[in-house]
Amino acid sequence: MTSETVDTATAPRVLLDPTGERVAATVPRAARPRSLDGLTVGLLNITKPRGDVFLDRLEGLLTERGLRVERYAKPTFTKPAPVDLRHEIATKCDLVIEALAD
């Protein structure tokens, strides 16, 4: 502005927010079970190398203790788990263990 009538020197400096302006939703954590007795444990492999080694061992240990185990795998470790897979795990299992192996 070249005119003396438009005084930017004393005008409030206002910026536009460059962010997504999201208000983070707070989702409460599910209650932790006191005991694993009688529960079904989901084992989710994100399909990184050797995740199966870790989960095979866990499955053995959990089965020895008489727990039911369900095995799941993401199609690819590079993308979030598909919503149907998440829904199936939530429906069938009481808790889930995810293998972030490499």
Partner: protein, 463 residues
């Protein structure tokens, strides 16, 4: 009229430094008109809202609506407009007006902010009187670690002049927070990155490409791997916005290259919420994650434009996004035939990620002009070079299996008797850029490839 009270009757808009306005000033004082000067704020607001482009302008209002307008001095026209038969006998017959102050360079956007009732929706963040602008932006976590241009409303409005798209149009859903990103939000981040308005369509195309499921911007951001989006630009827009495809094309020093690449990264950071240490889990990262954007040298290339080879129309401007992990030099100063030079590229490509790992990683090859000349003189096009490289990169499983060469890393042992390709089909991109001197090319190693990771995506640049 956005709050400006205008009475019915005739308004005359003038400014002090217009000779025609001064010429008609005595006459205006004798007429039943409301004289409004652009030299005062209120007059400037009125002029802006009436859309006055030149002064003097007479506007007749009836029931709050404009019914008649006259620009400049024209005795006959003024007589007819005012109904005064002997008006201005002592004045020349005709004098053109001067440009309105609302049309001065850079003023229109300021006036839109002050008087226009802005259409922009972003939250306004007012800075304290003693706050340093650059520091305030750092404090809010909006930068990549370097200072940015403060995104004031007038700058964002100027940026939006670079596109025909509406500010509220959604460009894409930006990972990792999956936020619907509008043209306005891209423009804000483009201002911060240092873009000029004419870069905006290129940034918009890059954001669009990044938000596709094929490109998988979410995984690319979240990975522990080095990679980030690399933007390769084709078509007339390269020259139109002054992009560099020559000397130091992948380096510093060219505003358009850096600002476009940086704008994309700022959109991911600010709109998508993707920040290092948050969803970005890169072990080391690479400097290209600040900005990695360059133009292909189409004119000197032995190959057709990269975008055309990927399905974009010839002559159209386009961006191609590749999930790249940094620059690996290829030196060959002795090969003068394409077979030898292809073998050099192949042995260097074999080291992408690890010489014993195959198929999992893509690569982008940037052929420089002096290496490109070898292929051109031999009549090799892109397809021929890719065929040769594919043949040279069929690797014996016995060299790749875990433990081979005394190295634990490698493919599972049962593949020892097989032959494996270094790259998946379509996993190599070839482009052409660089200065005229230097028998060097570059490999930009990729990330997890194909459907399990990221696929290159090409998008046309719109308006």
């Amino acid at each position: 009229m956005n709050g400006v009270e205008l009475r019915d009757g005739v308004v005359a808009v003038v400014k002090a430094d217009c000779p025609t306005c001064r010429l008609v000033a005595p006459l205006l004082s004798t007429l039943d008109v409301e004289v409004v000067s652009e030299d005062a704020d209120a007059g400037l607001a009125t002029s802006y809202r009436l859309g006055v482009e030149a002064v003097p302008t007479l506007v007749r209002l009836k029931a709050g609506e404009e019914v008649e307008r006259l620009v400049g001095w024209d005795r006959a026209a003024w007589r007819s407009f005012t109904g005064v038969a002997d008006l201005g006998d002592d004045l020349p017959q005709y004098r053109p007006g001067c440009g309105s102050r609302t049309q001065d360079p850079g003023v229109a956007e300021e006036l839109a902010v002050r008087f226009g009732g802005s259409q922009l929706r972003a939250r306004r963040v007012e800075l304290g009187a003693l706050e340093d602008e650059a520091e305030a932006i750092f404090d809010r976590g909006w930068t990549d670690g370097l200072p940015v241009v403060p995104p004031t409303e007038s700058r964002v409005l100027r940026m939006l002049e670079g596109t025909t798209r509406a500010p509220d149009e959604v460009v894409g859903v930006v990972p990792p927070d999956l936020v619907h990103c509008t043209v306005e939000k891209v423009a804000i981040n483009a201002v911060m990155a240092g873009c000029r308005p004419e870069y905006l369509p290129v940034v918009l195309a890059a954001v669009e490409a990044c938000c596709t499921s094929e490109f998988n911007g979410h995984g690319l951001l979240a990975t522990t791997y080095f990679s980030g989006p690399v933007v390769i630009v084709n078509g007339p827009v390269r020259r139109a916005i002054g992009m560099n495809s020559g000397v130091n094309a992948l380096g510093q020093g060219t505003r358009a290259n850096l600002a476009v690449g940086r704008a994309l990264q700022l959109v991911i950071r600010n709109v998508g919420g993707g920040r290092p240490g948050g969803v970005d889990r890169a072990t080391l990262g690479n400097p290209g994650k600040i900005a990695f954007c360059f133009a292909e040298d189409e004119e000197g290339s032995p190959f057709e434009p990269l975008s055309v080879s990927r399905g974009a129309p010839a002559g159209a401007s386009a961006v191609t996004l590749f999930a790249g992990a940094g620059v690996q030099p290829v030196v060959d100063q002795l090969s003068r035939d394409p077979e030898s030079l292809a073998r050099t590229l192949a042995v260097c490509l074999r080291t992408v990620a690890h010489p014993k790992l195959v198929i999992a990683f893509d690569a982008l090859i940037v052929i420089s002009p002096e290496h490109g000349r070898v292929f051109r003189q031999a009549g090799w096009d892109r397809a021929r070079l890719l065929d040769e490289l594919t043949a040279l990169l069929q690797l014996p499983g016995s060299e790749l299996v875990r433990g081979a060469g005394g190295i634990a890393e490698g493919v599972p042992g049962h593949l020892a008797g097989t032959t494996l390709p270094k790259f998946r089909p379509g996993g190599l991109l070839v482009t052409h850029a660089g200065g005229r001197a230097g028998l060097f090319s570059a490999i930009v190693a990729g990330w997890a490839s194909g459907e399990t990771g990221s696929q290159p995506v090409t998008r046309e640049v719109g308006t």
